[in-house]
Symmetry: C2
Subunit: 292 residues, 2 copies
């Protein structure tokens, strides 16, 4: 069954919440309130409580599969439930999987993640090129979305992503190709169902990406715990304050553990801490965006 265009759904959600925040559901076994039981089963009530607390302040949810996958089969069962809960709460769900493989294998990933799981979009590695993303593009024609890694938020992203070929860094070559792949997939919002990952920790590169690809939605990681602030991400947005969502994981979902918050929240108040953190982040970013 075809769903509505992914970017339209994403930016409608952002408009409705008046928020460009994406909550990163990255549960760490060692940081969860002990009262919730054992991981990975405890991830389900933990994330349910977080989603219920933050859903009014966030546009979308990103779920990092690695923290589930490390627990094997029960981890995958929890991953499916957590994605479903976020979706049931009305949030577009991005599976942060960074998959990338040759075509028949990519087809298996697409079947598993986009056809079978309660997931709206995924993150994809570009390293294998066009044929490796075809199965995902096919699903983008039916309402799914994908974000291709261009410039990631980590320090070593410069190792390969900044290499210049023909005067253009690799991350901009990626942006060009992705733009060509996503050209046929523009929604009513003017944005494609295919987007880019542009780390908030590299504001200059993010600005170059935005100039290169004005019609690709950006997923912007690195806010909060990874060090980027509101001013760093302004360039990712268009003049209407649209075009990107900004992810924070730890700084929202583990806000109750934060250094400053230590005295402010009890462990049992983890959801309220997340709610406060999501609201603050929404307001911080809103203050620097045009058109808001």
């Amino acid at each position: 069954v075809a769903e509505r265009h992914f970017a339209d759904r994403l930016f409608e959600s952002a408009a409705k919440k008046n928020s460009v925040v994406c909550v990163g559901l990255d549960p760490r076994a060692e940081w969860l309130p002990a009262s919730l039981g054992k991981p990975p089963e405890s991830f389900v009530p933990f994330c349910a409580a977080i989603v219920a607390a933050v859903k009014s302040y966030v546009a979308a949810a990103k779920v990092q599969v690695a923290f589930f996958e490390e627990h094997g089969a029960p981890g995958w069962a929890a991953f499916e439930k957590v994605c479903g809960q976020a979706r049931d709460a009305g949030l577009p769900v991005i599976a942060d999987v960074k998959r990338g493989d040759i075509s028949e294998t990519a087809e298996a990933y697409a079947r598993g993640l986009l056809d079978r799981m309660p997931v709206d979009a995924l993150t994809v590695s570009p390293y294998l090129g066009a044929d490796s993303v075809q199965p995902f593009l096919e699903r983008c024609r039916r309402g799914k979305g994908m974000f291709v890694l261009a410039k990631t938020s980590n320090r070593s992203s410069s190792d390969f992503q900044d290499l210049e070929a023909g005067g253009l860094p690799l991350y901009l070559h990626v942006a060009r190709k992705v733009r060509a792949w996503g050209k046929e997939l523009l929604g009513e919002s003017g944005y494609s169902a295919v987007g880019l990952v542009a780390g908030a920790t590299h504001p200059q590169q993010a600005a170059r990406l935005r100039a290169e690809a004005p019609d690709l939605p950006f997923l912007v990681p690195g806010y909060g715990a990874q060090g980027a602030s509101a001013g760093d991400i302004a360039a990712c947005f268009d003049r209407a304050g649209r075009g990107a969502i900004v992810n924070a994981s730890r700084s929202i979902i583990f806000a109750y553990r934060g250094a400053r918050a230590a005295s402010k929240y009890k462990e049992s108040e983890f959801a309220r801490a997340a709610e406060d953190a999501a609201r603050s982040m929404r307001d911080e970013i809103r203050a620097v965006l045009p058109g808001r």
Copy 2:
């Protein structure tokens, strides 16, 4: 518990079997003999029969996680069992996962795949650079291995991997960095625990990779069903006929479905067909290798 050096174990296995073949355990739900039951549970007896049939003719096994992952939690349970079976049969097991993520997420992948699963090595995407592989390198100091994607076997690998930066294509930049990462991890064989993926379908690029990185073990996909032949892979080996393993998946494990084989094997003879295919491939490659 530390295991012996990965490359030493890998090349000892190759010497013992007098084979550089790696069998790719990529079970496809739609191609499995119906008598084995339903996927993904049927993957377990299917792969067990294949491993028992081919283990004398292959040096290692590579398990493609995507074909398991697409079945969710039961798929992961089957993945773990299939890896364990291959390992119990004495084969070094490479999890073909092509993961690549920022450091704490990479650490979760490393914990899940290398610490928790019965797996000896994994495939890794280089796109995120040095910090994204640190958790894997750490495990390589304790007997595990990894193969970083350099030049993949698919046609679109040229999209980014062949881009030239400073006169050097990206895949050679990757090889240089990986060589630096693996420098401290040389085994008694002279090869590092850290290797490269070099597609058999691109023999010229594979030869350049070998020249650039004489001490990195190569995992060479693309043989058989993907079109490469024995002559294409000779450049991946050293003068002793060592230094690489050559993967084939479909052409071994689904040999009983092959066009020519259609009249030769019954469905129930799938394991014998795989055995014949593995033996033939071993002999084909042996004929073109130096020192064998």
